[in-house]
């Protein structure tokens, strides 16, 4: 049976699934190393360019390149952590300066992506800016495969992450290192390894999200820069300190952005569409001012108690 969804709902599903993957990564690195990573969006752009290489240069299905996107973006994230952040943390840099360092890394990454895009268009004569890979996607009964793959991969990766964190020894060590780094260090957990792996995971998830994003949205070197505010908004709504909160936040912000924009456009006219970035900002501000701890900080049981009275 093929479910029929209106196209706007389809877009909302894809966007929120990918946003969730991105905000999980951002939350993970914030939880472990306490660095709000401004380069996180560009990790996704790396994935989008890997998809371009797969389709245009290798002429293979981009889905085959998912592991490669994971590895390359993971490596870029590893580079940021090991080469820039860790040395700075050892020198005792403040959160703000670490944040500035991620911005600096983002600039270098954007420059590299642009130079790569120029190289692609010059050497291989392919469109490497504002490219669309929608046509390269496999269609299942007329519906692009990414519509099924994006939510499936998001759910699959979330489940894997859940199992990793709760059922494996490494996951327990990781949670311990997040909870109380010095105590975890005392019982012999290699905190540095935990941090490193969390960065690789975050980068890898972003790479996968970026690759899938290129199958539905327009790809460009500034793709990540444009969705950065949405990623932050999703993570902040989720509370920035809880992976499951990031999932809720990703879906809330993703759906709100797509559905509210399309509703408003049908009521007020298409001129509202470019103002879409205002929605994540509003959600973020409202969340920060009303529930600063995010959705994951709400004690649902106490609300339920109030309800019963």
């Amino acid at each position: 049976m093929v479910l029929v969804f209106p196209p706007i709902f389809r877009e909302a599903i894809i966007f929120s699934s990918l946003l969730t993957l991105l905000s999980i990564g951002l939350t993970l690195t914030y939880m472990t190393t306490r660095v709000p990573n401004f380069a996180h969006g560009s990790f996704a752009t790396v994935g989008a360019y890997i998809s371009l290489v797969a389709v245009r240069l290798m002429s293979v299905s981009p889905y085959l390149f998912l592991p490669i996107a994971f590895l390359v973006s993971g490596f870029v994230a590893l580079l940021l952590y090991r080469a820039v952040l860790r040395p700075l943390m050892r020198r005792g840099a403040s959160t703000i300066l670490l944040m500035v360092a991620t911005i600096a890394f983002d600039m270098l990454l954007i420059a590299a992506l642009n130079i790569f895009a120029d190289y692609l268009s010059r050497t291989y004569k392919i469109t490497s800016r504002y490219f669309s890979l929608k046509a390269a996607d496999i269609r299942v009964e007329g519906i692009p495969m990414v519509f099924y793959v994006a939510p499936l991969i998001a759910v699959g990766l979330i489940l894997t992450l859940y199992l990793l964190l709760t059922k494996t020894k490494f996951g327990v060590a990781m949670r311990a290192a997040i909870e109380n780094p010095s105590l975890a260090g005392v019982v012999g957990i290699n905190i540095d390894l935990v941090y490193t792996i969390s960065w690789i995971l975050a980068g890898g998830l972003a790479g996968i999200a970026g690759l899938l994003m290129s199958l539905w949205f327009i790809g460009n070197p500034d793709l990540g820069t444009l969705i950065l505010v949405s990623i932050f908004s999703a993570s902040i709504v989720g509370g920035l300190l809880n992976i499951y909160g990031a999932i809720l936040g990703g879906f809330l912000v993703g759906f709100a952005e797509v559905i509210v924009t399309s509703r408003l456009a049908s009521v007020l006219g298409v001129w509202v569409v470019p103002f879409r970035p205002v929605i994540p900002l509003l959600i973020m501000v409202i969340a920060l001012l009303t529930i600063p701890g995010g959705l994951s900080s709400i004690r649902w049981s106490s609300i339920a108690k109030l309800w019963r009275r």
């Binding site: 709000p36 703000i96 944040m99 360092a101 600039m107 505010v229 973020m284």
Partner: protein, 353 residues
Amino acid sequence: MVLPQEAVILLTSILAWFGLYLIVNLSLNLEFGYTGIPNFGKLLVVAAGAYVAGYLPGRLMVGMANVDPSLDYIADNAVIVTQINSFLNQNPHISLSLLFLTLIVATGIGAGLGFIASYPAIRLREEYLAMTLLAMAEVIRVIGYNYKPLIGGTLGVQVPDPLAFVPGELRFSMMSLVILAIAGFIFLYVERLVRSPLGRVLRAVRDSEAAAETLGKDIVRIRTKILVVSSAIGAVGGAMHALYTSGVISLTYDRVSWTFWPWVMVLMGGMANNVGVMLGTLIFVALRQLITFYKGVLEPILPFNVIWLDYILLGSTLIIILMYRPEGVLPEKATRTLDFKKLWARLNGRRSA
């Protein structure tokens, strides 16, 4: 000594950009260096100032310059502004009043935005605040790009030239001087401010909020005050940029140019040291201007487009500064206290007298 034409152009443009960035950087230094507010949305007020310069003077002058009222300000912008400029050409007094009026309105709008920005600034922890301010600046950018009636969207508008009465070849050097004079005035103002008792309170708030609060300082009011003042200064920078380039194109107001570059310059020079900030500004403005100026020479040598050299310069110098000299070239000076011996002697002297 007669300098070649090229050198004069390069020098005046370096001076003008130095003045423009100095204005913006001083306001960032006041916020972050002295008060500890991580403003990652400097673009917000700079763009607002530029939008004021793009919106206000042209529309004000339409009536005075007898422009055909059937013309649309955005669609027929070039025609209208040319006519206004030839009117301003004849009326130096009106031109200068227009310049001051634009700056005053920009200051007001900037102060208002600073007040709005202070709403999250007094409530949120630093990283949340940084993200919120960055997102707020993004919104003003989106409005500038897409709301055509304001400043013509991505196509931009021309800005009437308040120095139209200055003969052609002197106009740019004159403008550079005006910018430098404003920057100098702001420098003196900020220096006075940080050396005043208020300046000491700012540093106290930055270093330990709890301690400052214990001593009875109203942190909320101080942060609001500083954001209002610094945002007004930032908006002046934006308005002067628009007047200098005689045009507002929303594409030029992005977070790389007006948030991240000021951060690099302030960190390079030395946080909480205005002379250091001046030095950092001069170094990077000169470097960036030289890159733009010698684009033709650099193009064949570099294997990539020169635009990205700007990004690489930004990223790599920032990382190097943070790694090896996070306090900047000229670090903050310790506040000098009175010499204890002298103080003691004076106290004793007074007692014996």
